[in-house]
């Protein structure tokens, strides 16, 4: 499976996300995000850290226009998302996979149905209603579930799974979209430390195998250091650090989170 997708990918231009001068103000004059610009491409995985309420979730939701940005532009693999609406926006969203803190699965559907939800942007409404997906999608879904250790749970309902298993399903659903960028909003915050590490491993590994740039909002700086190749520090709506984990010093953390007592 990997080889097949890999070959197909080699022909495409590199997958990337570019955010330019992004501003979001829920109330006019009080921007939550102020002039954010950065770019992620290739197999890069980026962690976004910052104190609570600084706008990390807002940033991620602005990328796929779940929240409309006030100004600025977002490019996914070179295509400008920010001006799209309607069907064009839907088609653009297929290229953006999203993983949620609380998994956001449809509890009453089976694992398989939840994973196939990632294809809903591609199949017609009629096919979705009849649950007749292309055989290719079903094969890929099975392979994906196998690779993340959920092969035995295919027919179980999502509400019978543990938190870690649910998040795996959530990740598989995002990967099924064949996205050009994968966004994860605190994917480990509802999980215990051990499961958190496993989920980060799955995320990073899948994004590498499928060559999808990965952006993770995360509160756990240690996890961020361990699994990502780049860290963006947000504070009060602006980027205050952008670099590899090795360069992230305690001084930086102080500017990001403020205070220092917690560092002990």
């Amino acid at each position: 499976m990997t080889t097949r997708t890999g070959n197909a990918l080699a022909a495409q231009p590199e997958r990337s996300l570019r955010v330019e001068h992004l501003v979001k103000a829920y109330q006019p004059g009080k921007p939550v995000l102020n002039d954010i610009s950065f770019e992620v491409r290739g197999q890069n995985s980026v962690a976004i850290i910052g104190p609570s309420g600084t706008g990390k979730s807002t940033l991620i939701r602005c990328v796929n226009k779940l929240i409309p940005p006030t100004s600025g532009a977002v490019f996914v693999s070179g295509e400008n998302i920010s001006r799209l609406s309607g069907r064009a926006l839907r088609h653009a969203r297929r290229k953006i996979g999203m993983v949620f803190q609380e998994f956001n699965l449809v509890e009453r559907l089976t694992v398989m149905e939840n994973v196939l939800c990632g294809r809903l942007g591609y199949v017609s409404v009629w096919q979705a209603w009849r649950r007749t997906y292309p055989q290719d999608d079903i094969d890929r879904a099975f392979a994906l579930l196998e690779s993340i250790g959920l092969a035995d749970f295919v027919h179980q309902r999502a509400d019978s799974l543990s938190g870690g298993q649910r998040q795996r399903v959530g990740i598989a659903r995002a990967i099924m979209q064949e996205p050009h960028v994968l966004l994860a909003d605190e994917p480990t915050s509802s999980l215990d430390p051990k499961t958190s590490v496993e989920i980060m491993e799955v995320l990073v590994q899948l994004s590498e195998v499928h060559r999808i740039p990965l952006i993770i909002n995360i509160h756990d700086v240690e996890l961020a250091r361990r699994f990502t190749s780049r860290i963006i520090g947000l504070s009060q709506g602006g980027i205050v650090f952008d670099g590899p984990p090795a360069e992230l010093s305690n001084d930086h953390l102080k500017t990001i989170y403020g205070g220092e007592a917690w560092l002990q």
Partner: protein, 263 residues
């Protein structure tokens, strides 16, 4: 009532004056209203005597006109089935359109008004109007019950949708799924069981009401029942009532079975 409870906890054996006054007022009102309506014990007792004669005339029930009875029952069931089918069919989209957490207010407002209109009058009044519009017969009954079904299921269905978790909806919207697919995958699974519950409840209600719309000429067994009643044909009336009760019980039994299939 919370005040009363707090009162109990503080001084458990003191008399609760506000509640006493309320009961007293209720009794006074009852006396006044009974007087206004000319409801009296004497009339009640006379009525009980009538009731005994009435019951005596009902026994034994007269099933000799069973052919007519069966024809009427079939028409009653047909009205209920057709009205339920169309009522459910229409209330699904109308209930969806009335859900304020999925759609903007310029869509929900007309849908909610329509539902409120369907609920505002008793079905019999709708039946009267439909009899005027489409003439005597089952069509008026069907239309009546279709509207009643939309009013009932539409309202409850919209409320059920407003209570769902929006998280999967957000996830599917973020994956670029078309709106209708989002409904099919993220909304319907969360409310389908309740919808089926409402629909089967409404089927029972339609069956009961379709025995009644005939009183104003809208088809079904109600017409025959009313006629029997006006002709003082009480033993036939008893037969009609017994068959209605049997029908309602049968339908309750079936709907329990059907609910089990969808659990």
């Amino acid at each position: 009532m919370s005040g009363a409870e707090a009162f109990c906890r503080e001084r458990p054996f003191k008399v609760n004056w506000p509640v006493r006054c309320a009961w007293f007022a209720a009794i006074l009102y009852a006396l006044y209203a009974a007087n206004y309506l000319d409801v009296s014990w004497a009339r009640f007792v006379v009525g009980l005597g009538n009731g005994a004669t009435f019951l005596a005339e009902m026994v034994p029930p007269d099933f000799s006109r069973w052919q007519l009875l069966i024809d009427n029952l079939i028409e009653t069931v047909e009205i209920a089935i057709i009205a339920s089918a169309f009522g459910v069919l229409f209330s699904l989209p109308i209930g969806l359109l009335a859900a304020r957490n999925l759609l903007p207010s310029w869509v929900t407002w007309p849908a909610r008004t329509f539902i409120a209109l369907c609920r505002s009058f008793h079905p019999v009044i709708f039946a009267i109007l439909f009899v005027k519009a489409v003439g005597f017969g089952p069509l008026a009954g069907i239309l009546t019950l279709v509207f009643a079904s939309i009013g009932f299921i539409g309202k409850l269905f919209a409320e059920a949708i407003e209570e769902i978790s929006l998280k999967p909806v957000e996830a599917l919207r973020a994956s670029g799924a078309p709106f209708i697919s989002v409904i099919i995958y993220a909304v319907l699974p969360q409310v389908l069981n309740r919808f089926i519950g409402f629909a089967s409840y409404q089927f029972d209600a339609n069956l009961r009401n379709s025995t009644m719309v005939g009183i104003v000429g809208a088809g079904g067994i109600g017409g025959t029942m009313f006629a029997a009643f006006q002709r003082f044909d009480y033993d036939f009336l008893a037969a009609i009532l017994l068959s209605i009760i049997g029908l309602v019980m049968l339908s309750e039994f079936i709907s329990i079975r059907i609910k089990r299939v969808f659990q």
